[in-house]
């Protein structure tokens, strides 16, 4: 599927309240195209609750219900059951949450919904911070990144949500990135065709949160993948398949770029370069990425 072949219909309407260069809206637009209008979306507290715009207006042409921060997956479970009881089985229920609502406060409800075999797609757009509350650390924030609650840089490494999801042995999970709309489209499309719980996580570089220029969103996504800081993969019936550049990195066909190539554009890592380059911390980040790929290779190659 080439970008020019994506459906023309837009359910993401003009006039939203998103920041310029917002990755969530780029992703949402593609998700809407992949699923179509027979979709109901459940949104917990996250940037999307702002992006929707003010009551009584909306920027979505999709029925959407806002729900409490930790409740996206549980709310979606209820919507799914209610629709099924009415025989409306042709509607796709999507929980659409940020990394705060997924990795942290919402992980219990998510785990419960996956374990119960809920027929829905859970999508996490991961901008690696609590962005809606103004850039605080989350379980997805990478090591050394500045946030307003990690003023000198985060001292812990991020969680591997993908591995937590896989421990539920659901029919389909995937990681993708806003820089690869075809990859995103195909994964959502595939998820739609599968019954049971599906989980898709979208790497979503956030210009104000990561401190880079709004014209660089896509580039930051591409570099996240090319440096190996983020992997594109699919997990289906307990089998992992890596996609795109991530596949080539896994198979050793290309070298991943040094992570410096990615973090040097991001103000959140500025303290690693100014006033003096913090070689050790940058190496720590590299080592952590190497360890992740080593784990991927051991398990999936």
């Amino acid at each position: 599927m080439a970008i020019k072949d994506l459906p023309r219909e837009e359910c993401y309407l003009p006039g939203s309240a998103a920041c310029p260069g917002c990755p969530a809206t780029m992703a949402m637009r593609i998700v809407f195209k992949a699923i179509g209008k027979k979709m109901i979306m459940v949104v917990p507290a996250c940037c999307t609750a702002v992006i929707e715009s003010l009551h009584p207006k909306t920027s979505f042409d999709i029925p959407t219900m806002n729900i409490a921060f930790e409740a996206a997956a549980a709310g979606a479970s209820g919507v799914e059951a209610g629709l099924r009881m009415q025989g409306k089985t042709d509607i796709t229920v999507v929980a659409w949450a940020g990394d705060g609502g997924t990795y942290d406060i919402g992980i219990q409800a998510l785990s419960g919904a996956l374990e119960r075999n809920t027929n829905f797609i859970y999508i996490c757009y991961n901008n690696q911070i609590y962005s809606n509350t103004g850039i605080q650390r989350s379980g997805a924030t990478p090591y050394a990144a500045w946030t307003t609650t990690t003023v000198s840089g985060k001292t812990e490494f991020r969680k591997e949500m993908g591995e937590i999801i896989q421990a539920h042995h659901i029919p389909y999970a995937a990681q993708t990135c806003i820089a690869y709309p075809e990859d995103l489209y195909n994964k959502v499309k595939k998820a739609k065709s599968i019954k049971g719980p599906k989980y898709i996580e979208i790497m979503a570089p956030c210009p104000p949160g990561w401190r880079f220029g709004m014209e660089r969103t896509v580039e930051m996504g591409t570099l996240a993948v090319e440096t190996g800081a983020w992997a594109l993969y699919e997990y289906e019936n307990d089998k992992m398949t890596f996609n795109g550049k991530s596949k080539l990195i896994l198979e050793g066909k290309i070298e991943r770029k040094p992570v410096e190539e990615w973090i040097k554009y991001q103000g959140r890592f500025r303290h690693l370069f100014i006033p003096k380059k913090d070689v050790k911390k940058i190496k720590d980040i590299e080592t952590h990425i190497d360890q992740m790929w080593e784990r991927y290779r051991t398990c999936y190659l």
Binding site: A49, H55, P56, T58, M65, A81, A109
Partner: protein, 386 residues
């Protein structure tokens, strides 16, 4: 054909809930609510319950799932107790503000620490400002009838609010009593099909619950208040209709018991409410001019009815709860209802916290102390020499 079922409050509540034919039940077990959800599970296994039973991983998710299901347009039911109710707190507000008529039984139980599973009403009293309609039941029959009445009330277009049916832990939840059970067809006739105020519909895409500015939000609150006022009018109508159809009546917002020609009226709720009837019988036999007004609905609160009582008698409140730093919740409500409109005296007792037994003998002692002019404004029964 009406049949008689002899069972505990929880199983009776499960029976009533299943007869209302909810499409989705989402619940999480907690003592002493457990046998209620086990009852639903049993009816699911036998095929009597044809809805979806979501065994969620917490009460927070139970309410979230009920909200999701209700927003999809269907009928929902759940049950909880104590800490479960408290964990739901955020979602209780959500359900009410979303105007989704989720129907829920709450088995009134002590809040820890320390762990204690007996009767105490502080769990639901501390949810009084969430916008939910709150019933307090005093017998298994009342539980059965109120659960079914609640579906009709909560789902009514003029109300569209969630309803909580509370009853005391063990005293009712685990005590068997005979209950008249009407036939399914009569119940079906009594509760109309739900017509949602709004729903998630792919043919009419709306965004529910996005950012709302102050002047719009305030209107939402006012509408909720209006809905509670509407409930105040509907509860007597629904109780009357139930009485006509099924021959049973537990009162409307209040249940008045022997309130003619009295100088004092006792107000109590829940299981203490039924125990109070025995106390009133004994007191009146011994010449004490005291009657009973059992409070069935704490929200909406029957201000007007209480004022009527306060114009002819002094009032005595027994609270199985306390708003720490103030006083019993019912005691406060009574005084607020009378303020500047009646000069009746109001006395409040805190009694039965932590599940401490409150017998009719205890209730008689409380009433006598007031009538004998020896009671303070507010007392802790059993801890202050009563």
């Amino acid at each position: 054909m009406t049949s008689i079922m002899i069972d505990t409050g929880n199983y009776i509540a499960a029976k009533a809930a299943v007869m209302a034919k909810p499409d989705v039940v989402a619940a999480y077990p907690i003592t002493p609510q457990t046998t209620l959800v086990e009852g639903i599970a049993k009816y699911l296994a036998t095929g009597e319950f044809k809805g979806e039973y979501i065994c969620v991983e917490s009460e927070h998710s139970a309410m979230a799932a009920c909200i999701g299901a209700s927003a999809s347009g269907v009928r929902t039911f759940t049950g909880t107790s104590s800490h479960g109710l408290l964990l739901m707190h955020e979602m209780l507000h959500w359900a009410a503000l979303a105007r989704l008529p989720v129907i829920m039984c709450n088995i009134n139980r002590v809040v820890g620490p320390g762990w204690n599973i007996w009767a105490d009403e502080n769990d639901s009293i501390s949810q009084r400002d969430t916008g939910w309609i709150q019933f307090y039941c005093s017998s298994n029959q009342e539980i059965f009838d109120t659960v079914l009445q609640s579906f009709k009330l909560g789902e009514h277009q003029d109300v569209s609010l969630p309803v909580m049916i509370s009853y005391n832990a063990f005293i009712l939840s685990h005590t068997s009593m005979p209950v008249y059970v009407p036939n399914q067809k009569d119940v079906d006739d009594f509760i109309p099909k739900r017509k949602p105020k709004w729903e998630l519909d792919v043919n009419n895409p709306i965004t529910f619950g996005n950012i709302i500015l102050p002047h719009e939000y305030e209107k939402v609150r006012k509408e909720m208040q209006k809905a509670q006022e509407n409930a105040k009018k509907l509860i007597p109508q629904i109780s009357e209709e139930w009485k006509k159809k099924f021959g049973r009546y537990h009162g409307d917002l209040l249940e008045l018991y022997k309130c003619n020609n009295v100088d004092y009226i006792l107000l109590s709720m829940g299981a203490i409410g039924s125990e109070s009837k025995v106390a009133i019988d004994n007191l009146q036999k011994n010449g004490y001019k005291v009657g009973l007004a059992r409070v069935r609905t704490f929200r909406p609160f029957p201000k007007e009815e209480v004022l009527k009582l306060g114009k002819k008698a002094d009032l005595i409140a027994i609270d199985r709860n306390i708003s720490i730093g103030s006083e019993g919740a019912l005691f406060s409500e009574l005084k607020a209802s009378l303020y500047q409109k009646s000069d009746a005296k109001v006395h409040g007792f805190i009694a039965g916290l932590g599940g401490k037994d409150v017998t009719f003998g205890d209730i008689e002692k409380m009433c006598k102390k007031v009538i004998d002019g020896k009671a303070k404004d507010m007392e802790w029964f059993g801890l202050e020499g009563v």
